[in-house]
């Protein structure tokens, strides 16, 4: 079964259009959605969650249309964790107990211990990292099967980011747990993701198994002369510098004799997005 199935999602805003976006997240997998600020990541996520009404297209979550019951099965973390500033950890527990059918108090407090979050401090006085950890703990404490996170690691220090990735990794030990995570920092996500989607200017540039992406493209360092001799359809992006050209090309179209190195997901995105402009 698919955890998320989006077909032809369209949403028009003044000056921005989410254009015919389709993607599928198979159950048990982690998908990283990558795009620059304003590319359409959050609009996509908000449409999945029913917070934005799409102008067209169809979204299915675990085979069903979004409904109130389904909300129990989805853990959500948005870039700003929305909890009352005067609430402490114990208050949050009480609020969530009323809100979620399957609220697991024991689980919640075990996350509080794991994250060393103080019980009596007010949410408003939490640091950004602590707020995010509390948000993730809430998302993980009501027996959700699908986790949807919008920029959960932005603005956090490397230590906290690493901790969060550890938790996400642990969450997917269960093979019907899936994660959709958006980010503009990809390096920390790259390893654990099974699928990668690039969104740019409201369009889905690609959605592919991560390993296939990393294999399909290579970095080459060439002169402009050499570049012009290459099959132009193979070039997916280039940076022309004073001393040579850095380019990303389809691996199988690079003639033998050209030395090439592996790409990272981040390189790939930056080069492709620039080429589109």
């Amino acid at each position: 079964m698919n955890a998320i199935e989006i077909t032809n999602l369209t949403k028009n805003y003044k000056g921005f259009k989410l254009d015919n976006l389709s993607l599928t997240l198979p159950s048990g997998c982690i998908m990283g959605v990558i795009g620059e600020n304003g590319a359409g990541k959050s609009t996509t996520i908000r449409s999945i969650l029913g917070m934005v009404k799409p102008d067209g297209g169809d979204i299915k979550i675990m085979g069903k249309k979004m409904n109130a019951d389904l909300k129990n099965d989805i853990g959500v973390v948005l870039d700003e964790v929305g909890l009352p500033a005067i609430a402490n950890v114990n208050d949050v527990n009480k609020i969530m107990k009323k809100f979620f059918k399957n609220w697991d108090e024991k689980q919640f407090y075990s996350y509080m211990d794991r994250f060393s979050l103080p019980r009596d401090k007010k949410f408003g006085d939490f640091s950004k990292g602590m707020k995010m950890k509390l948000g993730i703990a809430v998302a993980l404490s009501h027996k959700a099967k699908l986790l949807i996170l919008d920029e959960p690691t932005s603005g956090l220090d490397p230590l906290v980011r690493d901790e969060i990735i550890d938790i996400l990794n642990d969450f997917t030990r269960d093979d019907d747990h899936s994660i959709l995570i958006s980010s503009h920092i990809v390096s920390d996500l790259e390893k654990i993701c099974d699928y990668i989607a690039f969104i740019h200017n409201g369009k889905l540039m690609l959605c592919e198994e991560k390993d296939i992406l990393l294999e399909k493209f290579r970095f080459i360092n060439v002169t402009e002369q050499q570049l012009s001799e290459l099959d132009q359809s193979a070039i997916r992006g280039k940076k022309v510098g004073k001393f040579g050209v850095e380019a990303i090309a389809e691996a199988e179209k690079i003639p033998s004799g050209f030395s090439s190195v592996p790409v990272t997901i981040e390189d790939l995105f930056v080069f492709m997005a620039k080429e589109e402009k």
Binding site: I30, D170, I192
Partner: protein, 124 residues
Amino acid sequence: MNIFIDNRSGAPIYDQIYNQIKDMIICGSLAANEPLPSIRTLAKDLRISVVTTKRAYDELEREGYIYTLPAKGCFVAAQNTEMLKEHNLKLIEEHMNEIRKLAALCKLSKEDIIDMFDIIDELE
């Protein structure tokens, strides 16, 4: 069982897993019928993608190093000497290809190479 993933080596991660498990099976440190960690457990313990790990296991299964029992998991396949021989033959072939390329680069004939081999063989 130890598996090390090197992010800087440039070799694809599934390839690194495939090679390390294969080597353990060939050298006998993983015995026949020994269970392997499940795909998901291995992926999560190595903090890598499940799809990546599955690919390494699929490759190992295709090459006959492991077998899968439905709902039980993956196990080390009994390696017969025939297969190890086959494996080594393949390696020799690869090395020979390498030799052929190098020889062509410095314009050595087939006879030159055979002579070189004879000399090395005698010295041994």
